[in-house]
Each structure stands twice: as C-alpha cells, then as structure tokens.
Amino acid sequence: MSREIYDRSWVAYLLLLPTLVVSAVFLYYPAARAVELSLYETLQFGTRRLWTGLGNYEFLLTSGDYHSSILITLGFSVIVIIGVMAVSLAVSFLIYEVTTGQASYLVAAIWPYALPPAVAGIVFFYILHPSLGVISQPIEALFGVNVDWFTRGGQAFVVLTVAVIWKQIGYNVIFMIAALNNVPDALGEVADLDGVSRTQRLLRVYTPLISPTLLFLAVMNTIYAFFHTFAFIDILTQGGPGGATNIMIYDLYRNAFEFNNHGLASAQSVILFLVVGALMFLQLKVSDRYAHYG
C-alpha cells in the first residue's frame, strides 16, 4: 500500500504503544485472568477460591436454568433485532422520503441514542408500573389486559423488549439514514417513474441497496441485545419473574454481584465470549464485503 509512507518500525510501535499497553493491561490481562478464575469456585470478590477445574462449566452446561437462560437470550435477541430494525427502517425510510421538516424528524428519531440505559429503565419502570404507572391504566383500557408484569413472565418480557427496542431505534436510524443518503438519487427516481409503490420501493429497491448496512446493524444489535441491556433488566425485572427475562448477561451479572460467585460468572463470561466471538467473526465477514474499498 502506498499510503505506507513511513517505515521506521520502532516509531510505529511507539505510536501504537499507548493503545497496546492499555489494551494489554486493562483488556487482555483481565480477560485471561477471568479464564483462570472460571476454574475456581469463589466467594468474596474471588478472594476466596476453591479449585474446581471445569466444574463451573459442567454446572452451567447441565443446568436447566442456564439452558433456559440461553434460549431466552436467543429469543430475546431475535425479537429485539427484528423489532428494532423493522421500526427503524420504516421510520428512516419515511424521514428519507419527506422533504419538509426532515431535519426535525431526524432529531426526533435519533435522540434515544443519547439516552442512558439507566434513565430509560427508570422512566419505563415509572410509567408502566402495574399498579401505579401513568400509562398502565390506559393500556389496560385500550387492550383489555391486566398489566401485571411483576408476576407474569410474558408481560415482563414484552415490557423489557419494548424498552430495549425503544432505546436502540435512534442508533439504527442514524445508520440507516446515512446509508439511504448514500444511495444514488437516480435509483429511487427510476422506481418512482416506474410507478412502484412506496412499500415496494422500500422493500425492492432500498432494502437490497443498503443491505450491507442492515447486516452490520444486525450484528451490532445482536451485541447490544446480548451485552448492553442489563441495566434495563436490573432496573425493570431483575431477570424475573420466574427467570422470564434472565438473559445471559444478567445471569452473569447476578452471579457476580448479587451472589458473589465470580468463578461461575467468569465461566459464564467465557461462554459469552465465545458467543461474541462467533458474532465478531460474522461481523468481520460482513464488513469484508464492503470494506474492500480501502
């Protein structure tokens, strides 16, 4: 590559040093230690430990609760990914199509990206509280259901999913709008001239054209669903009721911080790490397809 205009290796390493040192000390080393910790049964922040070899893994792989946690995680991710992308795609496309007020709509649609999960969780908890929530009564009146997600697993799952999707819309819309803006105008105009309906245009013209972005978002949303939703769960459902919202990351968090069982939590993080590894592999595969311009 002819961009490589400098060739003093030691200078290159000097430039990389801060990143490498921080990565090694605060990312790689702790990760390696986590693998080690996963071989122990622990108490008290891992200071008291008992060698158990693969015992933690064995426990997890034979635990019915953990199996159901994995299944819930998968189901949750699929619903979140599909839900958030369907809503975001519709919103993005409409924003892309409108001419007046586009900037305002854009801001109104992307702001949840800035929303801290803790804030999102607390606000949702407040407005949807089964007996005290502001909009619980209207929902009960409107849909004829008894809002009681503290004890009903299905409802808890729905509330959590809605909150999680809500917060992620902004992030998706930003990407989708950016991608739509990259589509040459002529392609949409051609479809317009051909009299293709708006829905058809979205599904047949734009969706395929921005599919690399959609694929990328699918991966990012998976990571989001897997990792960045635990604040919601902590505030809204604590994994319950009856484990209905106990996704892997929350189960891990709970084992570590509620039960002081860091060894088991470490084993869970190793398993999660393998799952993310597969996801990252997918992402690299995906990005390879459209990163070749560089």
């Binding site: 002819s2 961009r3 490589e4 205009i5 060739d7 003093r8 430039l15 990389l16 990143t19 490498l20 921080v22 990565s23 605060f26 990312l27 702790p30 990760a31 922040f45 891992g46 519709a90 919103v91 409409l94 199509e97 007046t100 305002s104 801001v107 800035a114 929303l115 801290p116 803790a118 804030v119 999102a120 607390i122 606000v123 949702f124 407040y126 407005i127 502001v134 909009i135 009564q137 809500w166 819309i169 990407f175 950016a178 803006n181 990259n182 505030i235 968090y253 570590a256 911080f257 470490s266 190793v270 999660l272 790490f273 993310v276 590894g277 990252m280 690299l284 459209y290 311009y293 560089g294």
Partner: protein, 288 residues
Amino acid sequence: MSLSNPTAYVDELTGENTDTDKLLVHLGLFTAVLLMALPILIALLVSTQQRGVITSPADLLPGSHMVHNYYTVMTDYNFAVYMWNSFVMSTIIVVGKLAISLLAALAIVYYRFPFKNLMFLLILFTLMLPVPVRFVPLFNIVTDLGWYNSMLALTIPYLASATTVFLLRQHFLSIPESIVETAKLDGVGPLKFLVYVLIPMSKGMLAGVSVIMFIYAWNQYLWPLVIIDSQSQQVTQVGITLLQGDIQAGELQWSIVMAGAIITLIPPLLALIAFRKPLLETFGVQQK
C-alpha cells in the same frame, strides 16, 4: 432544534403538500416520533410536579415545582457534583481516546512495519472483551495500581478504543493517496503530518467519533458503581440510581427522580443534536 413541534407540521401540511399521500407520511412519522418521545415527555411533565405520584394520564399536567425540583436534585442530591464528575470523566475519555487512537491509526495506516496486521487484529479483538467479561480481574488490577476511588480508575481503562481506531483508519484510508504521497515527497514528518494534515482533514470525523465516545462514556454505569465508593467522586449514572433509592426510602417523590433523569439525559442529548451532521458522516464512513 428540539423535538417536533406539532403546529409546525400542520403549517407545512396545509401549505404546499396538499396531496394526501404526503399527509399520510407526515402523520405516520409524527405518530412514530411522538410515541418515541412519549416516555421522556411524561418524565419531563412529572419532573415539574410536587410529588409525581400519578396513576392516571389525566393528572399529567405541568406542575409548578420545576425549578424547585431541579434545584433540589442539583444541590441536595449532589447532582451538581455527579454531573461535574461525569463531565470530567467523559471529557478525559473522549480526549484520551482520540489522542491515542489517532497515534495508533497513524501507525496502522501510514507505517510499514512487521506484524502490522496482527497489531490491528489485536486492537480490533478488544471489541470482544466488554467489561462484564473481565470485570473482577480488572477491579483487582485497578486497585493494585492504587486507583480505587479515583478519576484514573474511571478513565484510563477506557482509553484503548477499537472502535475509534477502526473508524479513524477507515477515514484515513479514504483520504486520497496522492495527498499522502505529496506529504511524503515534501518530507513531512509523521507528527507534522498528523497535526497539519490528518487532523484538519478529519474534523468532521473526529467530531462524530467524539459524540459516540462521549455518549458511551457518559452512559457508563457498572464500572463506576463498583470502583467508586466516595460520593465526591461518583458519576451521574450511579447518582440516578442512588437518587431512586433515596426516593424509595422517603416519601415518594418521583418528580425528583424524573428531574434527575432529565438532567442526566441532557448533556448527551445536546451533544447528539449539536453534532448530528458529523455523526451521520461518521456513520456513513463506517459503512463504506
């Protein structure tokens, strides 16, 4: 710019877009963004009331305690301190990440050196190591370094950023080769090249990345919760849950909690709105 203003749209609609199709699009969009804004609008309304114990939408009216609530949250509940700490933390993380990622991206794009791809992979691979995966050992290292309860603990472990390096690399790769070669022909040294050429040519990108990083840093919750035990050092994300705890302890004052929630939301929201254009560009680059 603020959230959509209904009357503005009505004006627009009755103006030139009489066509029902456009009306429907606006109607759909408006409903969508309104639904998205609804929870926060409710929070905003509640934050102006005296107690905020509201069980029916009919009670959702602006109250008269807005100033008092926000003042109370900032002073009695230490949000002034938390917000300042969050701000300092986020700023250090953003600036630090940009600085060391710029150096790393400079090396990765513009240097020829052995094991380059390996180094890049090592940096990218850190994406696979989110905080929960390495939490306990991280805690041990940070406390061994004597950083327990300090701003160092909140910031330094976050400085390495695969995302930033990756985005900067993508952006650098989009700078025309000939510009780079011109610099080489002129014998421009790496630091001068970085400062006078790369950084000025990456302003939009850097602004976009900064917003991403700022929001990311600002929204950190788990790590400050564990590594900081002194209130004078605590950040606002933990502050909001402490606030919620406090409110649960006393007589219900949801209005105060919602005021805290709104305050916590404001800085990242302002950053997002102010820098939405470079952000869009940044995300555009990432997709290429």
